[in-house]
């Protein structure tokens, strides 16, 4: 068993969903039930394999890559098929593996218009392969391929199953991310050509992320590092999304089908921040140092800006989408400090945001289904008509505004904390200002979430919905899809060590190798 996991575990967990998708392609589209079952089976199988990997994971040695696969892939450009799992990848991989099956379950009786579950689930499974692959790839080209694999299924998901404005939103999403990844690829190539072995001074010509992390930009001049980092900054920053590259996000979220929004919020945005943590910062330490104050600035602008944007929204889903901009601002602030504390917080923030905002989008989808509108002004009295759903909304809102004891807090507060004392070489006063501004952002977060809660859940139901037969409390599939997320919110809130203890050795290791270079 262990041998299997060591040699094939990561490959299996990455490609099992794809295999499921292939199987589904062979099944005629009319067999809708069968499609759902296969999709569920495939995603659950991936989850089980992922679970085994996590059980077998050596937590005492979480800083080192485990289950490493290193095989020939594209010799011509020295790119190899390298997969590996360490403390940074593990929580994010686990998040993906949990969220996708839940989305499949939720879709069981919530296939959005215009139907066609076959295509819908196939896209979802391809997405899963892309997302998991991105988190475990340890070769830049492989990473890039997985990173881009994600793009098309999401494009189609929004473009086909989206709302009224879906075409505009999907094209915008596609062009934005494509633009970013083009620059990112350039930066990867620059790394390939310019990195040298510090011992011998020879050009390395490798895409192996382990090697590139170890040499940490040796041989690349400071000015060049700044340029290369800029390419990655835009590439990853668009995906995060950082202010001012965020405008695709509200549109994409608003138009995407519920499950698409959930996956987008829960996992896709993390690809960008993960890229920063795994690639940009450790491989280009001096570039990162030059950029960090600016990243921090954009992060806190994003925090305030996203929050204010939320306050102006009249649509529930759009509000949640804007809140992502604010929350990812905290994540980026943590990364910008370039300290182990801050990056740990960022990773925690990614997972927490994934669970919480994913859950909020599930709720928005269910509200839309019941009320046929998401206009906040028309909603109200959910606590009367669907009390459980109202309480869940309240609970998740609390988690989202960073209530201590729930998961959101551990991404937010440590990020603020770490901004007080950023890494050596960064302007301390600037970051302390960021800290205060970010803390103000928590107040605004409370503002928009509580107003949302008050206007949708509290009060008496509107007349137009008073006798609506569509408004029912949480259904069984919804319970199954939601309970794991709700449990996760509490579990990680109570025992943050579950994530921190795993990520910490890996983060410390990454930063240490950076400092050496």
């Amino acid at each position: 068993m262990t041998d299997f996991l060591n040699d094939w575990g990561l490959t299996a967990v990455t490609f099992v969903p794809l295999a499921g998708a292939l199987v589904m392609m062979l099944i005629p589209a009319v067999e809708e039930q069968l499609h759902k079952q296969v999709a569920l089976l495939a995603s659950l199988a991936a989850m089980v394999i992922g679970g085994l990997l996590m059980l077998d994971f050596d937590y005492g040695n979480a800083g080192a890559l485990q289950y490493v696969v290193d095989a020939r892939w594209i010799d011509v450009i020295n790119s190899r098929y390298i997969l590996g799992l360490d403390g940074i990848s593990l929580p994010l991989m686990a998040l993906t593996l949990v969220v996708v099956p839940l989305c499949v379950i939720y879709s069981w009786d919530h296939i959005p218009e215009p139907g066609n579950p076959k295509a819908f689930f196939i896209l979802m499974l391809i997405l899963e392969t892309g997302m998991v692959g991105t988190f475990v790839a340890q070769d830049l080209i492989l990473f890039f391929v997985f990173f881009e694999v994600v793009l098309l299924p999401m494009f189609f998901m929004i473009g086909v199953w989206g709302g009224e404005n879906r075409r505009y939103a999907s094209i915008k999403f596609f062009l934005f991310t494509l633009f970013g990844s083009a620059l990112m690829l350039l930066s990867f190539l620059a790394l390939f050509f310019l990195s040298t072995d510090p011992a011998t001074g020879e050009s390395l010509r490798t895409f192996d992320m382990r090697v590139l992390t170890d040499v940490a930009g040796a041989g690349i001049l400071g000015a060049t590092q700044i340029w290369i980092f800029a390419g990655m900054f835009i590439g990853f920053g668009v995906k995060v999304p950082m202010f001012p590259f965020h405008t695709w996000l509200p549109d994409a979220h608003t138009e995407a089908p519920t499950v698409g929004s959930v996956i987008l919020a829960a996992v896709l945005l993390k690809l960008g921040t993960y890229g920063f943590v795994r690639i940009a910062v450790p491989m280009l330490p001096s570039g990162a140092e030059s950029w960090a104050p600016w990243i921090g600035l954009l992060a806190v602008i994003g925090i305030i800006y996203g929050a204010l944007g939320c306050l102006a929204q009249t649509d529930m889903k759009r509000l949640i989408a804007f809140s992502s901009v604010a929350h990812m601002g905290f994540v980026m602030l943590g990364i910008a400090t370039l300290t182990d504390f801050g990056i740990n917080a960022a990773i925690f923030g990614m997972v927490a945001h994934g669970i919480i905002t994913g859950m909020l989008f599930f709720l928005a989808g269910s509200v839309k289904e019941r009320y046929h509108t998401l206009e906040i002004r028309r909603l109200g009295g959910m606590l009367v008509q669907a009390p459980r759903m109202g309480w869940i909304l309240g609970f998740v809102s609390m988690a989202s505004l960073g209530l201590p004891g729930l998961a959101g807090f551990w991404g937010e507060f440590p990020a603020i904390l770490s901004a007080y004392s950023p890494a050596d070489g960064l302007p301390v006063e600037t970051f302390r200002t960021y800290m205060v501004v970010a803390a103000v952002g928590t107040v605004l977060a409370a503002g928009y979430l509580l107003w949302l809660l008050q206007r949708t859940a509290m009060g008496a139901p509107r007349e137009e919905f008073a006798d609506s037969p569509d408004i029912v409390d949480v259904t069984r599939t919804e319970w199954i899809a939601w309970v794991p997320l709700l449990v996760g919110i509490i579990l990680f809130g109570v025992a943050p060590g579950l994530i921190f203890d795993v990520t910490d050795p890996a983060v410390v290791g990454l930063l240490a190798s950076g400092a050496g270079g």
Partner: protein
């Protein structure tokens, strides 16, 4: 909602099941009640989960579960008190806190622990919280009976109790933040218990939101402390480092100011007090438990727990003024004055709470640590008694409006009247009831009496002494007004009020009993009428004597001060008595109606009294400023402007960039290709705009080859950039 938030505490504390000895401050075993003190919050947390899961199916709809759990906690807390007393008596020179930790999370290669910390302070708080909570639970079984969300109410009472106990027991700043916010959420939920009405949900939001503002200070302050103390959240270690002089003074100044902001919001200090009166929208037991006895003193508790931070940061010792003392003094005086113009009995009590909390903050500000804690202790009982009494009254008359629906109730509700009077006298600070002893200690602690022949405490806070004195008079006066309007005169409401049942009166009597005797726990040293072995017991057991506590001085009580303060209170009460019991009552009899004010009173004469009255009625215009100006500006114009700029500027820039690049190409083409023939200068501007429009259209028609051209061009440019980068 929080179907499982209770298990938060459950899990954390269950994790602490195997206490790990930690550092030199730990003791091998301190007895069951101290070693296993984590059970105290665990019980209510479990009952929260239990009530939510199957409370509705129980015969008493879950209330029995809550009472049992809190009762259990109370027993354990009493055990802890007794054990602690024994523990204290065993040690002569200094006493170590009982500290039990368990690993929680790791970051930056450092392990951070969760744990419990028991010393006199936390043990005292355990007792207060569990005792008041238990009484409130019992009281609520009658008071909220028949409510649609009865079960739900008890669930959150349990959760609140658990969160408060968790906060009290926490040994580090992280845990304190957790507890701090959790009690805030419970307060939010319970204030908004009747959320069908917008006023209630507004009040709940306001409470949470104001606290969130203060939390900026908490988050920032904790961050500063963490780094200033060398990377630890452990309160004991932080305190010890500060006392050892290892921490930069500047950092402490900033940290203490930040934390003060948090205290101001949570403990209703000026200028963040405005949420507390509005919070009275919640059910009365909630007001008694959360907004009088326990949650609002969380801020006081935090200052007391982190006292070295404030002691150093505010330079309390040997000074005559500091921000902490000033905030407290201003609050106690101006908050108390606001109570005059309120007609809602609960709001009067709420402002009274604001004012009394001001006393505690001021006491901490002048270095009278023990006096502050003692006042916290006594205040919890008599203020809870007052709130529950007002609840009992409103239970009878179905209203909180003193002017329209009360009056003359002392005959129909004799028990409520008696207990209410006891608590009122205690609050006024008249001997020998509890409030007198604790307030007198605070006044002595200012050290200001040194001028009048007393002894110095930690400084020379004359201003605080004067404001405290005036505050005592104000307190006595507005309480006289409440008593008159509620219990004297003749009944102004409708229907037939009746005395409440035993489940309401029982807790009232217990609390009234404590309001009488609580003062005896800390008789001043050298008080000749009291056996010497029983003097200053409270201070002896509560005040830490250890490296984590600063070396504060203690003021000596003085007879003269006590006499003067009692006289001042009597003057305040006397003036109000003259106005109401003489003036209003006689006019009422003359008019044959039950009046509440005199037509030609001082206010009606205009001038300064009228202006003051208007300011008081408008609550110094704070609400206008906050809601009308700040919140409105953020919510309205500011948010809209940001969103507008998002749609028009940032997003517009993206769209424009696409359009303009096509238009630019088009314009170039026009000039190079066609411009040679046509007159560029004459037609130029016209064509440019024309070209832009045309370019826009071609951009949108989606011709395959144009896309391909753009793709190629873009790829080429990128490749060019790449070549340039490589050749740097």
């Amino acid at each position: 909602m929080i179907a499982s938030a209770g298990s938060i505490l459950a899990a954390v504390l269950a994790a602490a099941e195997e206490p790990v000895a930690h550092g030199p401050s730990s003791v091998a075993s301190a007895g069951f009640f101290l070693d296993y003190a984590w059970l105290i919050p665990l019980l209510p947390a479990l009952s929260f989960a239990g009530i939510l899961l199957f409370g509705k199916r129980l015969p008493r709809k879950g209330s029995e579960l809550g009472i049992a759990a809190v009762g259990g906690s109370f027993v354990l807390a009493v055990g802890a008190v007794i054990t602690w007393i024994g523990h204290r008596d065993d040690s002569h020179e200094g006493v170590q806190a009982v500290h039990r930790t368990v690993g929680w999370l790791r970051s930056g290669g450092v392990e951070y622990d969760a744990g419990i910390l028991l010393d006199g302070l936390s043990v005292m708080m355990l007792f207060v919280v569990t005792a008041v909570s238990l009484l409130v639970h019992i009281y609520s079984t009658d008071y909220v009976a028949g409510d649609a969300r009865y079960t739900h109410f008890f669930a959150f009472l349990s959760l609140f109790t658990a969160a408060m106990l968790f906060f009290v027991l926490s040994d580090n700043l992280l845990q304190m933040i957790v507890g701090w916010e959790l009690v805030g959420v419970c307060s939010f939920v319970l204030i908004g218990h009747w959320w069908e009405h917008k006023e209630n949900s507004d009040a709940a939001l306001k409470a949470f939101f104001t606290n969130r503002v203060g939390d900026i200070g908490l988050l920032v302050g904790v961050s500063i402390l963490f780094f200033a103390a060398g990377g630890t959240f452990d309160t004991l270690r932080i305190s010890e480092r500060i006392n050892a002089g290892d921490v930069s003074h500047t950092a402490l100044v900033v940290a203490s100011l930040c934390l003060l902001a948090a205290v101001m919001s949570k403990s209703g200090q000026f200028i963040l007090h405005t949420w507390l009166p509005d919070a009275m929208a919640g059910p009365t037991p909630v007001s008694a438990l959360i907004h009088a006895a326990t949650m609002v003193v969380a801020g006081i508790y935090m200052v007391a727990r982190l006292y070295p931070v404030f002691w150093e940061g505010m330079s309390i010792g040997g000074s005559s003024i500091n921000v902490l003392a000033l905030v407290g003094a201003v609050t106690l005086l101006f908050g108390g004055m606001l109570a005059f113009t309120q007609n809602d009995i609960k709001k009067v009590l709420a402002y009274s709470t604001v004012s009394q909390l001001g006393y505690m903050v001021m006491a901490l500000g002048v270095g009278a640590w023990t006096a502050a804690m003692f006042h916290l202790f006594t205040h919890a009982f008599f203020k809870a008694c007052l709130f529950l009494g007002s609840g009992s009254v409103s239970h009878a008359v179905h209203s909180f409006d003193m002017k329209n629906d009360m009056g003359g109730l002392r005959k129909v509700m004799p028990h409520t009247y008696r207990t209410f009077m006891v608590a009122t006298v205690a609050l006024m600070g008249l001997p020998p009831l509890a409030g007198f002893w604790s307030k007198d200690e605070i006044l002595a602690g200012t050290g200001g009496w040194g001028l009048f022949g007393g002894t110095h405490g930690n400084g020379n806070y004359i201003l605080m002494l004067v404001m405290g004195m005036v505050g005592a008079a104000v307190t006595a006066a507005y309480m006289t007004r409440v008593v008159y309007l509620t219990f004297f005169g003749t009944y102004r409401g409708h229907g037939h009020p009746h005395e409440s049942g035993p489940r309401i009166l029982g807790p009232l009597y217990v609390l009234a009993f404590f309001a009488v005797v609580a003062g005896l726990f800390n008789m001043p040293k050298g008080f000749q009428l009291w056996p010497e072995a029983w003097q200053e017991r409270f201070g002896h057991y509560v005040e830490p004597v250890a490296a984590y506590f600063p070396a504060i001085g203690h003021a000596k009580p003085s007879w003269s001060l006590a006499i003067v303060s009692v006289l001042v209170a009597l003057i305040g009460a006397g003036l109000a008595w003259r106005y109401y019991f003489k003036g209003v009552q006689s006019r009422s009899q003359a008019a044959g109606a039950s009046l509440t004010e005199i037509d030609d009173g001082p206010v009606s004469r205009g001038g300064l009294p009228k202006a003051v009255h208007t300011a008081l009625v408008n609550k110094y215009y704070f609400d206008h400023l906050y809601t009308g100006v700040i919140v409105k500006a953020v919510k309205g114009p500011l948010a809209k402007a940001v969103y507008w700029s998002n749609q028009r500027i940032i997003d517009g820039a993206v769209n424009q960039a696409g359009r303009q690049s096509v238009a630019a190409g088009r314009a170039v083409y026009d000039h190079v290709d066609q411009g040679l023939i046509d007159n560029v200068i004459v037609d130029g501007s016209g064509r440019a705009s024309d070209g832009a429009g045309e370019g826009l259209r071609t951009m949108q028609t989606g011709k395959v080859q144009q896309y391909a051209a753009i793709l190629f061009a873009a790829a080429t440019v990128l490749a060019g950039v790449f070549i340039l980068v490589l050749s740097i």
